[in-house]
Amino acid sequence: MTTLPLEPVPAPPEQATPSAEPRWQSLRGVNESDRIYQGVLTALALALPLLIVVLLAQLFVSALPAIRRFGPSFLWTSTWDPVAEVYGAAPMIFGTLASSFIALLLAVPLALGVAIFLTEFAPRWLRQPVAFLVELLAAIPSVVYGVWGIFVLIPFLRAYVVPPLKAVLGWTPFFQGVFYGNSLLAGGIILAIMIVPYIAAVSREVLLAVPGSQREAALAMGATRWEAVRSAVLPYGRAGLIGAVILGLGRALGETMAVTMVIGNRHDIGLSALQPAYTMAAALANEFSEATTDLYLSALFEVGLILFVITVVVNAAARLLIWRVARGAAVGSQAL
């Protein structure tokens, strides 16, 4: 039996949300100091929506000169010439997407494997320690990943990974050219290691939220444990798992230091993963303090604005998907 005729049961409609009005709300009247307390907390909470609005508005205002000057062609122009004052962000946008794509390609199978192993197959005593160790990957500072990337990962790639890659896949456009070390490939691999803990932690919470009855039903129909996972558990948690992956994507898109240190920082669009590239975050890190003219600075702000908008959209989408499975929970917040 390879496929089971099991349709995943849709999530129960309107589960009691964790924030449903509990009984104590009606237990006691509200007095003046209660109102003050609530007012103070509300003001502090309002700081968050205010912050996102101010961030967006400020970036937009600072980017306005560049937006006026270059218009939408900023997005697909490849020239970045501070001397001639002509700016186009296409190489950075391409590099950001390409490095994140490589990262997802490597991280998703790994992270989903970790999540499935930890929720479905691992012996109970092994679950907590392994989950903790994987989450610790998220605790390593980005700049430390950068140092490790420069002095360990890149030499390793040069010696053991790139030669066989070139031998087998050298004919494709993706592995052409000389490998100098700093490259799209190195950036993508570092990013992959960095986002594994996020995707794994959220996927794990999502899989834990799948009701045991789903597994039991599949097992009762004669499925093996793996078949139960594939035909019942994964489909049930699909929205949340996609959310987990998108959340990882959001992290990868905005990651700055480690990528800046290993990706090579070259304003150019190339298909080869062995060549240096650039990302939006890296451009900000490298060039912001060197921006001598107002237009240069403004162009960098526009890069920041694009990056911010993309990550906000990506994160919002991820959260909505995850919330469909685990309502309102701060899933993955345990992953540092």
Partner: protein
């Protein structure tokens, strides 16, 4: 298939082990007394330490925590106590979205507001940027921890005639204190390792400085400069500083773990 997913898990853990092992192998030998108590020497000379960066990290992160923790905890309390309505949903959602915001974007924002107007890089601007990064994180973990407090406890306090605000502060929050402290430790650990938001705010400083209105060095900035610099001596110091920073973050993370264990057993 069980073997496959076990192998994948092993690979992820292996990555951690390799990174930590490399840090120890390349960094531990440089950790001596001088490393902690001396300031950097001019490029090319050997010796010197990162005392200025360690002090700077403590100052910048400390001030960021002073600003960020109260706001974050307050917002988290709001979410747990009053967050069932529309505003609660919005705040929760925005907090989660902000949690994924690239830290470099917050860096250029802090630059615009705190460096550009006064025309000078400052440690304070760095603290502000880190505080912004901290708030959504702290808010969400605080909310989660306060939610773990059983309703019966709250009901008991209210039944005894406690006003709501005192119930919230003296009974609920105190019960959740261990968890909230955990969240704070984790938050502090995370921003202690941040580099990108400090590049254009605290900037870095090769000399010892405790002046908040001046550029200040942090371990993360020092690692960036030394790691990408051309000298072997710098690389050696970068590894050592990376080991110290990593150790600091790990200790905070493990402390957080330990506090949670004490409070809630292995609930999660």
């Amino acid at each position: 298939m069980t073997g496959l997913v076990a192998l994948l898990s092993f690979t992820a853990v292996l990555a951690l082990v390799l990174i930590v092992a490399d840090l120890i192998a390349k960094g531990a030998s440089s950790l001596d007394w001088n490393f902690f108590v001396r300031n950097p020497v001019p490029a090319g000379e050997s010796g010197g330490g990162v005392a200025n960066a360690i002090v700077g990290t403590v100052i910048i992160v400390g001030i960021a925590a002073l600003i960020g923790l109260p706001v974050g905890i307050g917002a988290g309390l709001y979410l747990a106590e009053y967050g069932s309505g529309r505003l609660g949903f919005l705040v929760r959602f925005v907090a989660d979205v902000l949690n994924g915001t690239p830290s470099i974007v917050v860096g250029i924002f802090a630059w615009t507001w705190m460096v550009k107007p006064v025309g000078r890089f400052s440690a304070l601007a760095g603290s502000a940027a880190l505080a912004i990064l901290m708030i959504p994180m702290i808010a969400r973990t605080t909310e989660e921890m306060v939610r773990l407090v059983p309703h019966s406890l709250r009901e008991a306090a209210l039944a005894l005639g406690y006003p709501r605000w005192r119930t919230s502060l003296r009974v609920v929050t105190r019960t959740a204190l261990g968890g909230i402290v955990t969240g704070c430790l984790v938050g502090v650990a995370r921003i202690a390792g941040e580099t990108a938001p400090l590049l254009f705010t605290a900037l870095g400083n090769l000399n010892f400085s405790t002046h908040l209105g001046q550029p200040m060095q942090t371990l993360s900035l020092q690692i960036y400069v030394y790691g990408t610099g051309p000298f072997d001596e710098w690389h050696r110091l970068a590894w050592a500083a990376a080991l110290v920073l990593m150790g600091l973050v790990l200790v905070l993370a493990l402390a957080a773990r330990w506090v949670t264990r004490q409070r809630y057993g292995s609930a999660r």
